[in-house]
Amino acid sequence: MSFKALEEIVNITKKTDRPFWEVVLAEELSESQQTRAEALAKMENLYQAMKEADQNYDSLLKSPSRLVGGDGEKIARAIENGTMICGDFIGRVIAKAIKMGESNACMKRIVAAPTAGSCGVIPAVLLTYAEQNEIDEMRIIEALFVAAGIGEIIAHRAFIAGATGGCQAEIGSASAMAAGALAYLRDGDADTIVHAAALALKSLLGLACDPVAGLVEVPCVKRNVIGAVNALTSVDMALAGIRSQIPPDQVIDAMRLIGNAMPAALKETGEGGLAITPTGLAIAKGLKE
């Protein structure tokens, strides 16, 4: 994509009166040999794969390390029992985020969005929203193009891999993408979309990638929850008219600077943070033996 800033996309939507997702799609088509119909079909296929991954969750599975598995089911039960403080909607978002993260850790098929470690954030927000509201499937596909456009700019200006930018680059990016997508579904304009994304990303800046034993399990699975819930609160703020005082593109640049300043120990090496707590080290040692 030749766009280098969210601001460029916003300006085009204003000038041409086309929706955000259309601008992203048009740019995609101009740079690839696919037709519009093919690109839309591809995105629909990804959406179906997200739904399948959600439905194929198996609460009996455990990850190879046995650290992860079965927690999504616990939340589902708490919702049924009516004991969730967060209520029904956010409760379902939490459940879906954990389930997807667990499926990933158990080597099941998922959709990286933008990465596998953060694969639960976008489906948790969009699938739950689609289930609870009457939404045309095409609208969800459009929202996924909004998410992808935001992700492309983040990848261009900063990074989307924990190994290069820490967890902020994975869960932070996913949260920003989900926030933009949901802001679109709530009829937010381009400005609202990018500010929802910026508010989401800002709140997760600095998040270290410190997985126990270097595995995409602890704390990755449950960080999908904060990514998803943070997207919801950011959308509510943006739709209420709150704006990020730091412009969205500069928020992304800040993430790059923070990621560059992070020591390697906090970038997916399993050599810092939670990974080197006594328990984290004991788990890693146990796995080696």
Binding site: L46, I110, C119, G151, A161, K267, E268
Partner: protein, 222 residues
């Protein structure tokens, strides 16, 4: 990066860089070999070495070498599949100078005895970069049909290769030239918008001064 690098790929977990990217490196190596791989020595560097096992990086690379794609649900059992398919493999650790943390060096032997050395990195989100082939630099991601020509460093060979492509109406997307030293070993890496036919590839192979031609076809049957 395009839209579908960001949303997607559909893949078997747990890690887009350590699992899906690793499958893709193996898969592209398989394609570049252009024949069944008989044996593989695999050298893991950096984070691939330290956290690869828990991410199934080893299983992922073998799955790719067997021709599996990142969404293949047989990836967790790739070692068993390799045994049945007659692919012998061994893993070791290595320290590659100035390499991306998720990097690997592969020394492959094909069924006909053809040898191929590949160095590649997994860049995140399932995207990869091949940065060395048979000891010479390269830089491509395997998203386009890619022609790699190893030749003697002398005038005219680039023209011969590009003339052939032009004659077949094949558009060059990117082109890179590297050499070990003046007059020594050189390599050209051409990413193309269209597929190149087998006949054209073998035509290149017979040209004077060309040492080896490797071609990455993205066609399913190739």
């Amino acid at each position: 990066m395009n839209v579908f690098d960001i949303i997607g790929p559909i893949m078997v977990g747990p890690s887009s860089s350590h699992t899906a990217g690793a499958v893709k490196i193996g898969y592209l190596s398989n394609k570049l070999m252009g024949e069944k791989i008989r044996s593989a020595r695999i050298y893991l560097h950096g984070s691939f070495l330290t956290t690869g096992k828990g991410h199934g990086t080893d299983k992922a690379i073998i799955a790719g070498l067997l021709g599996m794609k990142p969404d293949d649900i047989r990836i967790p059992e790739s070692f068993e599949v390799a045994e049945k398919a007659g692919l012998a493999f061994a893993f070791e650790g290595i320290e590659l100078r100035d390499a991306h943390p998720n990097s690997v060096k592969l020394n492959l032997t094909g069924a006909s005895g053809r040898e191929l050395e590949i160095m590649a990195s997994s860049m995140g989100g399932g995207n990869i970069k091949i940065f060395q082939i048979d000891g010479l630099d390269a830089n491509f991601g395997g998203d386009l049909p890619t022609l790699i020509v190893h030749n003697q460093d002398r005038p005219g060979l680039v023209t011969e290769v590009t003339a052939m492509l032009s004659q077949k109406s094949i558009n060059i997307a990117t082109m890179q030239l590297y050499r070990s030293r003046r007059g020594g070993d050189a390599v050209m890496v051409l990413e193309c918008d269209q597929e190149i036919s087998k006949a054209s590839i073998s035509g290149l192979q017979s040209l004077d001064g060309i040492r080896k031609v490797t071609y990455l076809s993205l066609e399913e049957s190739a």
